[in-house]
Amino acid sequence: MIQALFLGGGVALLLAAAISAIGGQGSGSGRRRAALGLVIVGVIAWCSACAIVLADNSNLTFQLYQLTPQLGIAFHLDRLAAFFILIVSSVTACVAIYSFRYVEHTGSESRRDMSVAAMSVFILSMVLVVASANFFAFIFFWELMSLSSLFLVMFDREKGETAKAGIYYLVMTQFSTLFLLLGALLLHRYTGTFDITSAGGLTLSTAGIIFTAFFIGFGTKAGVIPFHKWLPFAHAAAPSNISALMSGVMIKVAIYGLVRILLDVLSPELWWGTLLLVFGTVSAVLGVIYALKEHDLKKLLAFHSIENIGIIVIGLGLWVIFGNYHLKTLADLSLFGALFHTLNHAIFKSLLFMTAGSVVAATHTRNIEEMGGLVKTMPATAAIFLIGSAAISALPPLNGFASEVMLFQAYLGAFQVPSPLTAVLLFTALAGFALMSALAAACFVKAFGAVFLALPRSHEAEHAHEAPMSMLIGPGILAAACCILGVFSYQILKGIGLDLPVPNVLPVSLVALTVFGLAVLAVRRMEAKARVSETWGCGIHAQTSKMEYTASGFSEPIITIFSPIFRTRKIAHREFADKDKSIVSGGSGEVHTLQFFEERIYMPTAQFVKRIAGYVSGLHNVDLDANVMYIFVVIVVILLAVGQLL
């Protein structure tokens, strides 16, 4: 039954890809709708399969296909995999609904077709990665996932920005795959199997190396700083439904890999936890600080993905640390907090990306400085975005809080850790965690405020229209999920048999709701008589959008406080009228924010490689004589070596 549902879902996705890839003449919106409908059917099948697995706690392993005598594509569904497939499929379903109209808004017919086809393959490969029972299948689908998403990122391929995103994405994604290969093949070296099962008999250092390889591999895909640089580029350049999938789901697949490795394959050591914690904290804090500085709506959201991945990684790190000290409750809190946050982030981040997509589609810009006032023209989108913002800012009673509080609870239990050093580390990380969470709220006040509130700051923003129904239903469902998963988090966790010390949000929400109701009742008479008028503005004649607080103005204080992180590079050039350089005749000056990771790590590495590559290429751009000389030298060397060695 499970197997049939699972395979049926796969077939539906393949069909969807085929329908849209084959294409046809004329308008293809019907065709693409059929394909997206099939996608939804497919993911619903998966959802049901996973629901059965989760409910029965059953394990299912089956081989789909023996590709070569040694290697087969086999799948294994257990609760962990089912949970992640559930995340993938449920979010995907909403994105597919959203895409009904979204894909029609831009691009040529054939490009839309390809986009839907690649999207189907992308979704299929993500699910199959999670379901893989061995590393061969895992990497097989992982690569498919990477490349299909690369196609999707390259949707607007003529834009220079897209090209940059594509190059970053491709290189980093290959980087990630190669580290996975490293990890998987090292495991194979020592265990002799490709199956994703517990690897016994590894020495500590070997296990550490394997873990590090996997961490870098998965961390790159997940966007852990410093391997994150592709993420803002790719998410910004991709169409929004794709950003929603990539940010909401794809990076979670990497998290799945990490959890699987830590949970089932290797037995984690303390320092792994520390490593995860440190990287997680750095990602979380820097991610949100970069987001504050960002004025590109989609890049802003992308940096928040980095932040949230940081949170999840922190959760995993805490789990490993507490697990090592045998603090079971705390470890469980951390692990399930991380997993819960994975689900939650998938929900609210894809929601945010989808609504951001609607906004971008309506205003034709991604720069939030050119938006504003959209709450009046796009109220439904605004409301959904608001819920998403509140959720990602970890505000109770929404789901973002529900999972972050689990990690807070775990952190607050850090005093039980016997090692003072680790405890101090944990408390320091806690401070970072708190900072991150508050900054996230600040950032979303900024984002929501700049995009939706006050007066429109551009012509496009002024004439924006509400998104069509399908583009509201998709994120709308997710918004509802945000509320339900938040308010009933305690009950849900109880329901699935986890007895963890988490706060019960339901009564508090009830109290808040009651008070809210009472207050509304109390004011209802005055509210009915409320007047809309011009308010006092210190004698300003008429308020215009020029006077508003902009996004940059809003984040200015925080940027100033964190100015050491935003280092600038100043380029000054002066021209002098006289020889003694005393009379300045003119000049120019530029101030750039130093993109630390790009300018100090990525670009120098790329430059270094390019320099060597240039040198090597130079060796090839020579005439015949030089070529013969190479051979001559090599032969002489070989002869010398032969004389020595034999």
């Binding site: 006032g373 505000l395 101090v424 508090v508 808040a512 809309v532 008028s533 204080p557």
Partner: protein, 311 residues
């Protein structure tokens, strides 16, 4: 069940009732310090009544955010107040998670800041921006203090913390004094007081909180003011009941509740005096100097943790 309902009603009503008084008292103390007589102690109540009768005016540029924010604000803050037992310690357990408590306040703040941006006026934007910035940098301090509390009292549940200190004594938990310092600073920041904010002026250079609610009118403004008062009260209650829980009723007896209410009123008024005096003694600190002020609080919290770790 009865106990719970009684607690909910009593605690909420008491917090709502006492908050304007505390606010007025601080003003009164400050006035005395400045050599003025100041408003009457009941001025807070008068103000609220007056505002409730006034007309509501919305800016043309504002949206539903502006309309909803006051309700949400009071809703979340009252919800938070439920988690801080003042009248007596309820029998129901697991309702007072301190993180949830803090985040309910953040939620309220979030919507207040949005409302500040809504009308597009420069004041509101400035207020929101500053408020969110300060709240971001105070957050690590707050959480670290909470962590220190949780460390010392081995719990994350507020009623349970109260119970622990109620049944013990300060000598058992000497580090609480250190935490108290940082809690005090947190309260100063969260309640928008000098040297962080100046609630008295409407000068754009200094104000933060007031700037956000500048566009609110009539009953809406009243709700905002009231929620601000509630916030101040519950934060004070949190520190009072941890440091000096004397008089807090352990269970719902009539006498005990009366004692509890009276003793808390006395303590909170004393606290208000302290805050007032403190405010009068300090000068407003420049916005970008504030982080170092917060670092002081962070230091106290961390010192607590380290002390406890090594002890």
């Amino acid at each position: 069940m009865l106990n719970t309902v009684l607690y909910l009603v009593l605690n909420t009503v008491f917090v709502v009732a006492v908050s304007p008084l505390v606010m007025s008292l601080v003003k009164k103390v400050k006035a005395y310090c400045q050599g003025r007589i100041g408003p009457p102690l009941l001025q807070g109540y008068y103000n609220l009544f007056k505002l409730f009768k006034k007309e509501i005016i919305y800016s043309q540029n504002s949206s539903f955010i502006m309309r909803l924010a006051p309700y949400l604000n009071i809703g979340f803050l009252v919800a938070a107040s439920v988690m801080v037992p003042i009248v007596f310690l309820p029998q129901i357990s697991g309702i007072g998670n301190i993180i949830l408590f803090l985040y309910l306040m953040v939620t309220a703040k979030f919507f207040m800041a949005l409302a500040g941006l809504d009308a597009g006026s420069t004041f509101g934007g400035m207020g929101s921006s500053r408020e969110m910035s300060l709240s971001a940098i105070i957050e690590p301090v707050t959480i670290t203090s909470v962590a220190a509390l949780a460390f010392v009292l081995k719990s994350t549940d507020i009623p349970q913390m109260f119970a622990t200190t109620l049944h013990g004594s300060l000598t058992q938990y000497p580090t609480l004094i250190l935490v108290a310092f940082s809690l005090f600073i947190v309260i100063i920041v969260e309640t928008a007081r000098v040297p962080v904010d100046n609630p008295e002026t409407h000068l754009e250079l200094t104000m933060i909180h007031e700037a956000m609610v500048l566009e609110q009118t009539g009953p809406k403004l009243a709700l905002m003011e009231l929620s601000h008062g509630i916030k101040q009260t519950i934060l004070m209650a949190l520190s009072i009941n941890i440091i000096l829980p004397l008089g807090l009723a352990a269970d719902a007896g009539f006498i005990a509740i009366i004692v509890s209410i009276v003793s808390f009123t006395v303590k909170v008024l004393a606290f208000a005096v302290v805050v007032g005096v403190f405010e009068s003694m300090m000068a407003k600190i420049r916005l970008f100097r504030l982080p170092s002020f917060f670092m002081l609080a962070l230091f106290f919290s961390f010192a607590t943790i380290v002390f406890e770790l090594l002890a």
